[in-house]
């Protein structure tokens, strides 16, 4: 058993302060300490991407980062995607294009897709598949997810 550390960070724009054990992953901190269960655990060893979040602009598997490492960082999770009751274009297109079935991998795919669109607002199919290759989906065969991301890119462009 180890001493808990005090960590101060920003999560989805809100300042948060919490105590966590040095051994706790960012995923565990988000889910158990901050009660933000939108970010999912699929493997806990960095191979499925269900826990994808964005830390200081970089896409990470939150199961492979420690909670204490986010001190002073800005974290984006699926809970922060919609603003004031308005869905993010990716959330809309994942619904419209049926880019999910069981929905368990969806938060991770949404965050990876957001990181992609932040870096490449108009991605081609290969870029989409490359950026999403760290996220496993067992239900869809990826076809409708790729379509949803393409459509969200067009939607974001139109909104500009």
């Amino acid at each position: 058993m180890s001493t808990k550390k005090r960590v101060a960070a920003k999560v989805n724009g809100d300042a948060v302060e919490f105590l966590c054990e040095p051994r706790q992953s960012l995923l565990e901190v988000l889910r158990e300490v901050l009660s933000m269960t939108g970010t999912k655990e699929g493997c806990n060893d960095g191979n499925c991407g269900a826990c994808s979040v964005i830390v200081d602009g970089t896409l990470v598997n939150s199961c492979c980062m420690l909670g204490v490492e986010i001190d002073g960082c800005e974290v984006q999770t699926v809970e922060g995607l919609s603003k004031n009751g308005r869905l993010h274009p990716l959330q809309k297109t994942f619904l419209e294009e049926t880019g999910m079935q069981c929905g368990f991998c969806t938060p991770g795919f949404l965050m990876s897709s957001k990181a992609l669109l932040d870096a490449h607002p108009d991605p081609n199919e290969h870029q989409i598949r490359h950026w999403l290759s760290g996220n496993l989906c067992r239900c869809t065969g990826y076809d409708k997810i790729v379509r949803a991301v393409k459509k969200a890119a067009r939607m974001q462009e139109a909104e500009k």
């Binding site: 699929g42 493997c43 269900a50 069981c102 929905g103 991998c105 290759s133 065969g141 076809d143 409708k144």
Partner: protein, 760 residues
């Protein structure tokens, strides 16, 4: 009231509305297994056997119990002996509840790497894990047996001194110390092969694979002072879990309430109680709620994968392309306990073709691996891998187009099945014609590229489903079923309710009930929910309309027989001034006898068979043996596609799983029976870079067993890919594949053998 008329066209069925549960899933609000928490909850950790086959000599929990924060430890000794013998679990088959209880937690012997030996509940998950490591178990290690041929050989290590063969679709009879057998036949096999101009014969092996749902198994159990336990879990069937927990923990069924949470994928793997009885017993002993989470490694080591197989197949045809004989012997792993999907694999192997002389033999073989489970069209992918390749070879030898060859032999409506009854309406010929007509079929290919086509069959399932509908005074409707929603079935069921009631789909609010709130239903398995629960929903809607028609009659002071209902409009045959739409009448229910609700429980018999075909183009790297998938077109008969985008999604998902099975996925055991690749890095499922866009062609041959013609769609798309890829590899580089997965090493070996043969 007249019988509600089927609308001339569909208003709701066949459209693509947005699923009502979707918002929760894109915002992170949806509550899956691990998202559920209750105050005072402890965390469980399961101690698992490191040996594939061993006798448990002793278990010492004293050190672990002394660790501060440890609240309870259970072993096999804490469980009663089940008093119920064989139990039917729908598509899960019939199995011996003693085996089911032993699979939950080992009593005297462990039968596979990862078999549960003990479980701990502690204040936090890390502590529980530390405590589990302090439990001392002494084993007498026994030699394991890891594949079907070794297990059937004389002198093989024996798993169980006695066992009850399971029955999944069909009974098997014990014939060897580790195996039971079934046989089916038609005609005269010797005569059939004597008539054949061309005979092909090959042996095939396939490795164990996992369903690979992204959410693992997670549940939470809590007892009350009356001795009733509530279990929140992620499952394909709340009642299935309830029944198993009740029998394994010796509780009245009414004392077990199972609340299904959102489920992060199942594919056949999530209707067996693995951790639920453990959580229940831990919670009872600790007198606190307990959550048990299976890690990814635990889920791969110790849930219910799909069997590895050995298949010996021989088929014969006449020069004109008529199939005359088939002789198949299939041995499927059962895992550590009997009752794998051998019968389904055997029965589906050739059922899509008319073959007069047939012998089918299946073996359910005990090996030191986890108890095998259904995985999407259980058993069919393996048997089709063999049969479709032999058909391709026969067509090649005869010099016939492979689709024409299949068209010549394809089963049609009314043809007698090997099962002994005529085929219900089926659109196999139409499906194959669609393949031939598709531009993909004749598209050009380059060097080292090849195209394969395979044709797949799955029975589908009916089984028991329940539904309840309640009409609100504003004309909206609550709908509750017991069918867990794996992929959007809340919506496909709400669409059928809306269609039947004549209202908008947005006016139907669908929920999945728990075992205390809705009528009994079997699991969401066998592609049956949109079909069978759909029938329950439509029947219930008809009861609602009937009652509402009586109310209209009461209000209009006429006889109910005079009320006409069409598309949600109630009219009086004798008075054209009398007219209510659904909402207007709903508003009047409270004062005409009270709100209206209705319930139905159905067990439909007339299940529509499922057929699918896949066209796949591959490119083989002849230096490394790596196979890339270039193009896929999937064809499937949906009967009637309730939500065409969802149907396409089911097909794409099944094809992608099939491609993973074809090229990458396998359980890797070492000689001692340890699973060496229990992670998603090493158990390699397809990523977005491994599969192309998957075009889907939906055909609709209505199933007369459903009011709207619906067939199940979920399972059969996984069946053709492995065979289609094997055929594509043959067409690319001229080798015949006989092992799954067709990983680079296997393909490269075939290329080397081919070069050596050419040099010789």
């Amino acid at each position: 009231m007249n019988k509600p008329k089927k609308p001339p066209g569909f208003r709701v069925v066949g459209t693509n509305p947005i699923r009502p549960d979707g918002l929760d899933k894109v915002t992170g609000r949806a509550v899956y297994g691990d998202d559920f928490k209750i105050a005072g909850m402890l965390h469980g950790h399961v101690l698992r056997s490191p040996h594939a086959h061993a006798r448990i000599k002793s278990i010492d929990t004293r050190k672990a119990l002394r660790l501060p924060g440890v609240r309870a430890i259970i072993t096999g000794a804490d469980f009663p002996k089940p008093s119920v013998p064989m139990v039917g679990m729908g598509e899960g088959g019939h199995f011996d509840m003693n085996d089911a209880a032993d699979n939950v937690i080992a009593k005297k012997k462990v039968f596979y790497d990862g078999h549960v030996v003990a479980a701990v509940a502690a204040d936090n998950p890390h502590l529980a894990e530390e405590a589990a490591a302090l439990i001392e178990v002494k084993y007498e290690v026994l030699p394991p047996v890891m594949d079907v041929r070794s297990a059937m050989a004389p002198g093989a290590p024996v798993l169980h001194e006695t066992f009850n063969p399971g029955a999944f679709f069909m009974k098997t009879i014990k014939v060897l110390p580790n195996a039971s057998r079934l046989e089916l036949g038609a005609g005269d096999i010797a005569k059939g092969f004597a008539e054949a101009d061309v005979i092909v014969e090959r042996e095939f092996t396939t490795e164990t694979v996992h369903q690979g749902y992204i959410e693992s198994h997670i549940c939470t159990a809590q007892w009350d002072e009356r001795g009733q336990v509530t279990i929140w879990t992620t499952t394909q069937g709340a009642f299935a879990i309830r029944d198993q927990v009740a029998i394994i923990c010796a509780l009245p069924m009414s004392h077990v309430r199972v609340v299904p949470l959102e489920i992060g994928g199942g594919f056949g793997g999530k209707d067996t109680a693995y951790i639920e009885p453990l959580a229940a017993m831990l919670a009872k002993k600790a007198d606190r709620p307990v959550k048990v989470v299976m890690s990814r490694a635990e889920s791969l080591r110790a849930t219910g994968p799909s069997p590895g197989t050995y298949i010996k197949a021989k088929m014969g045809a006449k020069r004109d392309g008529t199939l005359v004989a088939a002789d198949l012997s299939l041995a499927f792993e059962a895992g550590g306990f009997p009752g794998g999907p051998i019968a389904a694999g055997t029965l589906t192997s050739i059922t899509r073709y008319n073959i007069p002389n047939v012998r089918l033999e299946g073996f359910d073989v005990l090996v030191n691996k986890p108890k095998m489970k259904p995985y999407r069209a259980p058993g069919a992918t393996q048997s089709h891998f063999a049969v479709e390749q032999l058909l391709d070879e026969l067509a090649e030898k005869i010099g016939m187009d492979p689709v024409d060859f299949r068209l010549k032999n394809v089963m049609k409506t009314g043809d007698r099945l090997i099962l002994g009854f005529p085929s219900p309406p089926i659109g196999g010929a139409e499906l194959l014609e669609a393949v031939k007509k598709h531009p993909h079929y004749k598209a050009p290919l380059k060097e080292n590229q090849g195209r394969g086509m395979a044709f797949g069959f799955w029975f589908g399932a009916g089984l028991t489903s329940s539904a309840e509908l309640s009409v609100n005074s504003d004309g909206t409707v609550q709908m509750c079923t017991a069918s867990c929603d794996l992929s959007g079935t809340r919506l496909t069921l709400a669409m059928q309710a809306a269609e039947a009631l004549g209202i908008d789909v947005d006016d139907v609010s669908p929920t999945v009930g728990d075992t205390h709130s809705v009528g009994y239903a079997l699991q969401t398995v066998g592609s049956r929910t949109t079909f069978a629960t759909g029938i329950a929903v439509i029947e219930t809607a008809q009861k609602v309309l009937q009652e509402m028609a009586c109310r209209a009659a009461l209000l209009w002071e006429t006889d109910a027989a005079n009320i006409n209902v069409e598309n949600g409009i109630f009219t009086d045959r004798n008075n054209p001034a009398h007219k209510f739409n659904f909402k207007e009448l709903a508003d009047k229910l409270e004062h005409s006898g009270g709100p209206v609700s209705a319930q139905s429980t159905v067990t439909p018999e007339r299940v529509g068979f499922q057929l699918a075909a896949l066209l796949v183009d591959v490119e083989v790297d002849t230096e490394t043996g790596k196979v890339d998938i270039l193009r896929c077109t999937a064809f499937q008969d949906a009967g009637k596609a309730v939500h065409p985008d969802f149907v396409a999604g089911q097909v794409q998902g099944g094809v992608a799983q099939g491609l993973g099975w074809a090229l990458n996925e396998e359980y890797w055991y070492d000689a001692k029976g340890h699973l060496c690749n229990a992670s998603l890095l090493d158990y390699r499922m397809p990523t977005a870079l491994d599969v192309p866009m998957i075009d889907v062609v939906i055909l609709e041959t209505p199933n007369p067993g459903h009011p709207y013609g619906v067939r199940g769609v979920g399972e059969v798309p996984i069946v053709p890919p492995a065979a289609a890829v094997a055929i594509a590899i043959h067409n690319a580089i001229g080798v015949r594949m006989d092992h799954l997965p067709m990983k680079p090493g296997c393909v490269l070996q075939k290329i080397k053998d081919q070069r050596a043969a050419a040099a010789a």
